[in-house]
């Protein structure tokens, strides 16, 4: 199966000299129609940077972005691309315009990208989108963003991205503010879109259990590099990289209380794992079918 979209050995840095930050270091991955790739990893490791590279908000310093087999230059097919590739932003508070109500936020993408919809059909679709993300249309459609709770805003962002019927969806922490039952609803919606609309999904999250729920493949990032990647079940059940193991060991578990010294995560041990993980390396080892890990230093 060929990739719908790919990052190929992409590099992106910020700043200069001593203060240079390598936000993406030789990052490669593929998004396929009808499948999801989860990206997990340390806060500040470059996940959102990868998302913005895919969105073409940043041009890569090295490497390339390929869409439907075609390398994307600075301006190649930008209008069509913007329709095909949609993003749900990490911060639902910053990404909605306070001057406009919810109806406006959802009508706009429909007008722009769904020309087949006219007049009353647009308004009907707005209400349908709200229902899809488990919001009460009558109660919310005329409200402004600041009149909504955090999780409600997050769902407006999701609805807005879905309005366009994208081929590729980049979802940056789309469910972090949702309670478990609504979260499950949204994840099921994403799964259904994958299957029925052949959506290719890039799912960035800190919630590894949800990654397992929606994504066939997973990539673990640290300091701008993907350290381990492959089939989600294999990576989660048989993690090969010490950083992946550390990450999995810290997944919240109600049985382990912070007050109990036995359950404590040892910050010094964690620091040692991080230090080793921060050393860049290009060497890759195959640890199983569709499961790869960067070679460890030493």
């Amino acid at each position: 199966m060929t990739a719908l979209l790919a990052l190929d050995d992409v590099t992106k840095t910020f700043g200069y000299g001593d203060a240079m930050i390598h936000a993406a270091r030789g990052v490669s991955f593929e998004l396929k129609a009808g499948r999801a790739l989860a990206v997990v990893g340390e806060s500040g490791s470059g996940k959102t940077t990868c998302a913005r590279l895919v969105m073409r908000d940043y041009a890569p310093d090295g490497g390339k972005l390929v869409f439907r087999g075609k390398p994307m230059g600075d301006r190649t097919d930008l209008v069509a691309y913007r329709r095909a590739v949609q993003m749900i932003f990490q911060d639902p508070f910053a990404s909605l315009n306070p001057a406009h109500n919810i109806r406006h936020h959802l009508r706009r993408p429909l007008r722009l990208h769904r020309p087949e919809l006219k007049g009353a059909a647009i308004d009907a679709e707005v209400l349908e989108l709200l229902r899809l993300v488990q919001l009460d249309p009558e109660r919310l459609v005329d409200r402004h963003p600041f009149e909504l709770s955090g999780g409600q805003r997050q769902r407006i962002n999701i609805a807005r991205a879905l309005a366009v019927r994208p081929e590729v969806l980049v979802a940056d922490e789309p469910t972090s503010m949702l309670d478990v039952s609504v979260r499950l609803g949204v994840l099921n919606l994403l799964n259904a879109m994958k299957q029925e609309m052949r959506l290719g999904l890039l799912y960035i999250t800190h919630d590894i259990a949800t990654a397992r729920y929606v994504a066939e493949d997973i990539a673990v990032m640290y300091a701008g590099q993907i350290l381990e990647w492959g089939a989600t079940a294999s990576v989660i059940d048989r993690p090969a990289h010490p950083y992946t193991r550390l990450l999995l060991s810290a997944v919240p578990d109600p049985q382990i209380r912070f007050a109990d010294p036995a359950g404590r995560l040892d910050p010094d041990a964690a620091a040692a794992v991080r230090q080793a993980a921060a050393v860049p390396t290009r060497e890759v080892r195959e640890v199983g079918p569709n499961h790869f890990v960067r070679a460890l230093p030493g």
């Binding site: 959102t48 503010m177 949702l178 578990d253 109600p254 995560l265």
Partner: protein, 267 residues
Amino acid sequence: MTRPLLSVRNLTIDYVGLASDFRAVDDVSFDIAPGEVFGLAGESGCGKSTIAFAISRLHRPPALIRRESRILLDGRDVLDLPAEALRQFRWREVAMVFQSAMNSLNPVLRVEDQFHDVLKTHGERDRSRRRERIAEVLRLVDIDPDRMRDYPHQFSGGMRQRIVIAICMALNPKLVIMDEPTTALDVVVQREILQRIDELRRRFGFSVLFITHDLGLMTQFCDRIGIMLAGRLVEVDNAATIHDAPKHDYTRQLWAAFPSLHAEHGA
């Protein structure tokens, strides 16, 4: 028990509308003891942030707190504080990490200056002493103090969120309200920061009101937990009991919907 630090009584809050009012918080009462971590959980839109804002006295119209409501901090009614007392109250008595924390830093100010503002308003005149304090609290959240001259956009979402937590710690408040403080953090950093806050509250004795959707995390961190449903507090108990023997149906449903790390994916 000792006198609670915070005592919320019959708190009722409406969002006043043209046509009708919306009752976001409905007759909620709970206590938080000194040094205690108290968790609030419940579905999206059930009124958690509205409560947090009222306790910090940061609520704004159209939010209207109904007359019978009381919020006592150290025995004083927060809702009656005059303007000058309110200035002292913020940051020193109660500090809040907003749900939108990563977005609550001023984008045109260097990180350092956001701290200076808070510290200066509360009397620390000496710039180098302020800077020492800033470095100290940044280290508490694992941000390299050398980066205090950077601007917010130069940090990732999770790093910005940690900076806000550090600002809240700067004045040793009695109550720290954290509205989803760790949603932008990876689980390792999340664990490290909450473990650190757990140590700090034991050392300094402050209390925490912790709001999150992650019930597993809440059980790990909190002493007691309150479960909210549509503006009402339906169950309050020790964290262990909420996990092992929840009484309310809704609490049981919340646990049942908890996706598991080792279950197969839904596709």
